[in-house]
Symmetry: D3
C-alpha cells in the first residue's frame, strides 16, 4: 500500500493543526483543501509551502486576482488537474469573471503556440531585446 | 544547410509586407522583431499568428499589462528564452515595474512547485472544487 | 474504436509471452503490470523497452532505491499519473520510507520552482560552473 | 571541473569505436555527431541508445521522413535546441521541403495551443472517443 | 461553482451555431466534440481556434494522416488525455493503422529520451548542423 | 532596457548581504553564484528561496548526494541549462562520480520515454498500484 490518505484535523499532530488553523483563519475557511491534508504527511513541507504561498500570494505590486490568474495560467500550461480546479475557484473568488477566464485561456493558448514556433524556427534574440 | 535566415522587409513578398506593415502600424514600431521575420518563411502561418496575437492581446476584460504578464509567466514556465526576452520587454513597455516582475516570477515559481507536490501526493480534487 | 485493450498472457503471442516471462522471473511477480500488457500491441517496442528498463534499473554505481526515486521524481515532474503510481510502489518495495518519499517530493518541488526562477531572471552560467 | 568533453574516435575504446563504426556505416557518414561523442562517456547508454534509435527510425509502417518530422515535432515542443538542429537536418536529408517544415511547425503550434485550452476548460472525453 | 458545462447546439447563440455548423459540414459530423462545446463559452476563441485548426490541418505539402500523427505525437508528449483520445481517433479515421500507431509511439518515446540525454550531457551543436 | 544585471555584494543592501553571508557560510564559498545575485533584485524571494533550499537540501532521510542527483534529474528533464550546470557541479562536489552521473542520465532518459508510452497507450492504473 503506497497511496497516502488525507490527514484530517481530528487526526493531525499539534504541528499540523497549527498550520491548518492559520490557513483557515487567513482564508476564512471552515476546513482546508485536500492539498494541505496530503502535505500534512510531511509537516516541514506543509509549513514551508503554506508560509511561501501565503507570502507570495498576498496582494503587493500586483493585486490578488491577477496573481491567481497567473497561478492558474501556469497550472493550465503544466496540465495539473487539481491545481486548475483549485486556482480557477480561487481566481473566481478573487473576482475573475467568465470573460476574464476566457481571456486568460486565450493568452495561455497563444503563448504555448508561439513558444514552440520560436523553438522550431530557432529565432535568435533581437539585440534590442537582450539588454 | 537547414537553418533559416530572417526575411527582411526589402526582400519580402507583398503578402509578407502587408503583415509587417500592420504589425508596425499597430505597435508603432520602426521594424518588426525577428520572430515575424522568421515566420515570414510561411506567409500563412505569419498572417494567422499575427491576427491571432493581435486579437488575443488587445485589452478586453483583462488589461494589456496583465495579459503580457500572463504571456511572460507561461513563457518562463516553458523555458522559451526568446519569448521571455520579448515578453519581458513588452510587459515593461505596458507598465510592468521591477516590483511587479519580481512578483510574477515568485508566483510562477510557487505554481511550478505546488503543481508537482500535487502530482506526487496524488491529491484528489475536493468535491467543492469540482463543480 | 481506437482505444487499445490490455493483452493478457493467455492471449499473447509466443514473442510477447517470452518478454512477460522474463519480467515475471526478473521481478518475481505473478503477473505483469498493465504497462507491459498495453505495450504488447507492439512486440518490438515491448521487448526493446523491457530490455532497456532492465539494463538501466539494475543496481550499479547507484543502488536500486535511489534509481527508483529518480524515476519517480521525473514522473512527478512530468505529471504522468500511471508512472507516479507504479514507481512509488516500486520505490517503496525497494526501501523508500514515508520520510524518504516526503524528501523526494520536497526536492522535486524546489527544483521545479528554481528552474523557473532561473529562466525568468535569465541567469547566465557562472564561468566556474561552465567547465 | 564537471563539464564533459566529446570523445573523438581516436581516443575511444574498442567498445565505443564499434558503435561509432556502425553509426557511420548505417548512415553513410564520415564522423558521428556530438551527441554520440558525449554519450561515449557511458558506453552502455551509447550502445543501447544507438540500437534503439536505429530500430525505431528505420522505415516500417511509417516512412523515414515522416518519422524524422515526428521526432522534430516532439523536440520543438520540448525546446531541445540541439535536437531541433539535428532532426531538422535529418528530416531535410530525408526529404522534408521548406513547405513541409512550415506545416510541421504550424501543427506543433496548434497542438500546443489546443492542449492547453483543453486543460483549462477541463473538457471531459466524449464517450465516442473513449472506446 | 466554477466548472463550466458544455454548450449544446440548442442552447447556443447564432455566432456559436455558425461555427458548429461549419465544423459539422467540414468534417461530416452529426454533432461537434466536447472541445468545441466548451470553447463556445468564449465565441471569439471558438471561432479563431476552429479557423486556425481548419487551415492548419487541411492537407497541403503534408497529407492529412501525417498531420494527425504529428498532432497526436505532441499531445502524447504533453500528456493531454483528451487530446490523445481525440487525435488518436482522428488519425485512425484518416488512415493510421495499428502498426503506424505503434511506430508513432516508439518515435515519441525515443525523442523524449534523447532530448533529455542531450540536456544532461550538455551537448553543443555541431557546426555542420548550425547553418 | 529590461534585462537585469547581477547584484554584487558590494552593491547589495543589508538585507541581501545577510542572505549572501548565510549562503557563503553554510556552503563554505568565497562568493555566491549568479542565481542568488539575480534573485537579489527581489529580497523577499531571495530570502524565501534560500531558506527553502537550505531546509530541503540538508541531509535527512535521504543523503546529500542523492538529493543533488534528484535535483539534477528534474533540471535535466525540464531543460534548464543553468540548473543543469550548477546541480551537476553540486552533485559532483557531494560525491557523484562519472559512473553515477551516467546512471542518473540513463534513468532520466528512460523515465521520459516510458512516461510518454504510458500517455500514448492510455494505460489505466492497475488496481494493485492504486491503493
Amino acid at each position: 500500500m503506497s497511496k497516502l490518505k488525507p490527514i484530517e484535523y481530528a487526526d493531525a499532530s499539534a504541528e499540523v493543526r497549527a498550520v491548518f488553523d492559520d490557513i483557515k483563519t487567513s482564508r476564512n475557511l471552515q476546513d482546508v483543501n485536500n492539498f494541505w491534508k496530503y502535505l500534512a504527511h510531511d509537516p516541514k513541507t506543509l509549513r514551508r509551502t503554506w508560509e511561501s504561498v501565503k507570502e507570495v500570494m498576498e496582494p503587493g505590486a500586483i493585486d490578488g486576482v491577477t496573481k491567481e490568474m497567473i497561478y492558474l495560467a501556469v497550472s493550465v500550461s503544466n496540465g495539473c488537474g487539481y491545481c486548475i480546479a483549485s486556482h480557477t475557484a480561487a481566481a473566481r473568488k478573487a473576482g475573475m469573471t467568465d470573460a476574464m477566464f476566457g481571456e486568460v485561456m486565450a493568452v495561455v493558448g497563444m503563448a504555448n503556440e508561439t513558444n514552440r514556433l520560436v523553438n522550431g524556427y530557432r529565432v535568435p534574440i533581437d539585440p534590442s531585446l537582450d539588454r
